[in-house]
């Protein structure tokens, strides 16, 4: 039981980190990133490949965050001066293409067979203590993400990005260019996402392309929307709700013997789809929010 809770906590913490990244981009700045999973994959593969070549963990994690942010840079430069929906289309496309690259560039990524045997920090401590230590690492990363968000959002920079979310033209009218700020936020968010990817890869010790499907992006979206976009606590609450939902659906499968595993996957997808529709329609401010956006 304790092992199970540790596992759920670890996965939940990783989702929280993802949600923090997207919340910074979408919740506070209004950027529509439909390619969360791509930056997640960049982080996971970067860290995994470096670790397997003997690079110390600290550097693996740092490289994962930095490289994910660097991937965001050209996409942001190209899209962020254009209409909001172009970023959505381009990031969605980027995620698809990246998956193709991961599948076909076997020399680097081992293709569909994936990368096994990724070392996990603290594995020397034994299963229970090691798992617990890893959970602590994930939670520390999450808290760092929270503190980063709080400090950014409360700063003059944070004021400006929220102004951009509310009205870009008005921001231009006071002599500030939205594109620069949006690019910075996009990269910081991608960096957090990349870090989450690294944590995921070392936790699972095995990664393969079919773990990085578009659906994952929208898990994070639904977490941010449920928790309430544009509130720091919202990302955490949303990630908790998402984890609860995903774990709950697994239990549900055990009590509904007539539903096959494959059908359960369909049901989960249906629930995510329905939630995306219903929340945007009826509760765009999230489950807990008060002010309508």
């Amino acid at each position: 039981m304790q092992g199970y809770l540790t596992a759920v906590g670890t996965v939940g913490g990783i989702y929280a980190l993802l949600a923090l990244g997207l919340n910074l981009q979408y919740g506070f700045t209004g950027l529509i990133n439909f390619g969360v999973v791509a930056f997640y994959a960049v982080g996971a593969y970067t860290s995994a490949l470096l670790a397997l070549r003997g690079v110390p963990f600290v550097l693996d994690f740092a490289a994962a965050a930095v490289l994910a942010a660097l991937f965001a840079w050209p996409l942001g430069v190209m899209c962020l001066r254009l209409r909001d929906d172009y970023l959505a289309i381009v990031t969605l496309a980027f995620a698809e293409i990246l998956r193709t690259v991961i599948v076909s560039e076997e020399w680097l990524t081992n293709g569909t067979r994936g990368i096994p045997g990724i070392p996990r920090p603290f594995s020397g401590l034994g299963a229970a203590a090691g798992g617990f230590a890893y959970l602590a690492l994930v939670l520390a990363a999450m808290l760092a993400g929270v503190s980063l968000t709080v400090r950014l959002v409360g700063s003059p920079f944070g004021r400006l990005i929220q102004a951009i979310r509310d009205d870009e033209d008005a921001v231009r009218s006071v002599g500030k260019s939205p594109a620069r700020c949006k690019l910075v936020v996009f990269m910081i968010g991608a960096g957090l996402t990349g870090l989450a990817g690294a944590l995921y890869a070392h936790y699972l010790t095995y990664i393969s392309p079919d773990q990085f499907v578009p659906l994952l992006t929208f898990y994070v979206w639904i977490a941010v929307i449920m928790g309430g976009a544009g509130r720091v606590g919202g990302a955490i609450a949303g990630a908790a709700l998402l984890t609860l939902f995903l774990e709950g659906s697994r239990f549900l499968r055990d009590v509904l013997p007539f539903v096959s595993e494959v059908q359960m996957a369909s049901l989960r997808l249906a629930a995510i789809g329905l939630m995306l529709i219903l929340f945007t329609l009826y509760r765009p401010q999230g489950l807990l929010g008060r002010v309508a956006r």
């Binding site: 950014l152 400006l160 509310d166 009205d167 008005a170 231009r172 009218s173 006071v174 500030k176």
Partner: protein, 252 residues
Amino acid sequence: MSLGVHGVNKSFGGLRVVDDVSFQVQAAELTGLIGPNGAGKSTLFAVISGFQPADAGCVRFDGHEIQRLSAAARARLGIARTFQVPRPFAHLTVRENLLTGARDQPGEHVFNLLCRPGVVRQRERQIVARADAMLEFLGLTRVAGERAGALSGGQQKLLELGRALMTEPRFILLDEPYAGVNPVLIEEIERRIRTLSEQGTGFLIVEHNLPALARLAARLLVMDRGRLIASGTPAQVLADRAVQEAYIGGGP
């Protein structure tokens, strides 16, 4: 110091909205821009402030051609504008709206937040002081902590004026500053505009409330169907035959 347009043209889908308009406005001479709905006044504002590229012609400010500059760059040069329908940052507080207008806050760069927090804090103190003075000046102190989206239309007009002023402009384009504002507040705004004008800030004001504008302006420009049809002192312009026809809708 002056702001001018020269041979500006602007069309939307074959419809010429601004048709070969040229004029020059001196900062010392508060100028009004009037004309019936659809005359092209707001579009001209958008061209001057850089929100719409002109199809032809140039915009000059303080002796420099600025039509190639972005809207943000023009604002940094000192041309501020407000919008016909107020566009506050609805989810920020009233004070934050003003703070966002302030120029030279190094804390708007993440690098400075990390590496020069002292400088950021010091500048923030100055800006907050200025914003609080502005709140006082506009009579918005009481609502400083409220979300801008919750203000009345008239208060939003004031807030937008304040946000524009926070950019320390040399020239301000006001798009219908009195629309939806109650008469008491109008006098208030009028007094403030006059004070600023006397301190040397240039004004070009689009306004449908002609009596109020005539009290304020030293000079009026009149547009109709995209063209500039008259200019002169308010008395001259309002007596002009063509202007009256444009307003009454006479003539083909």
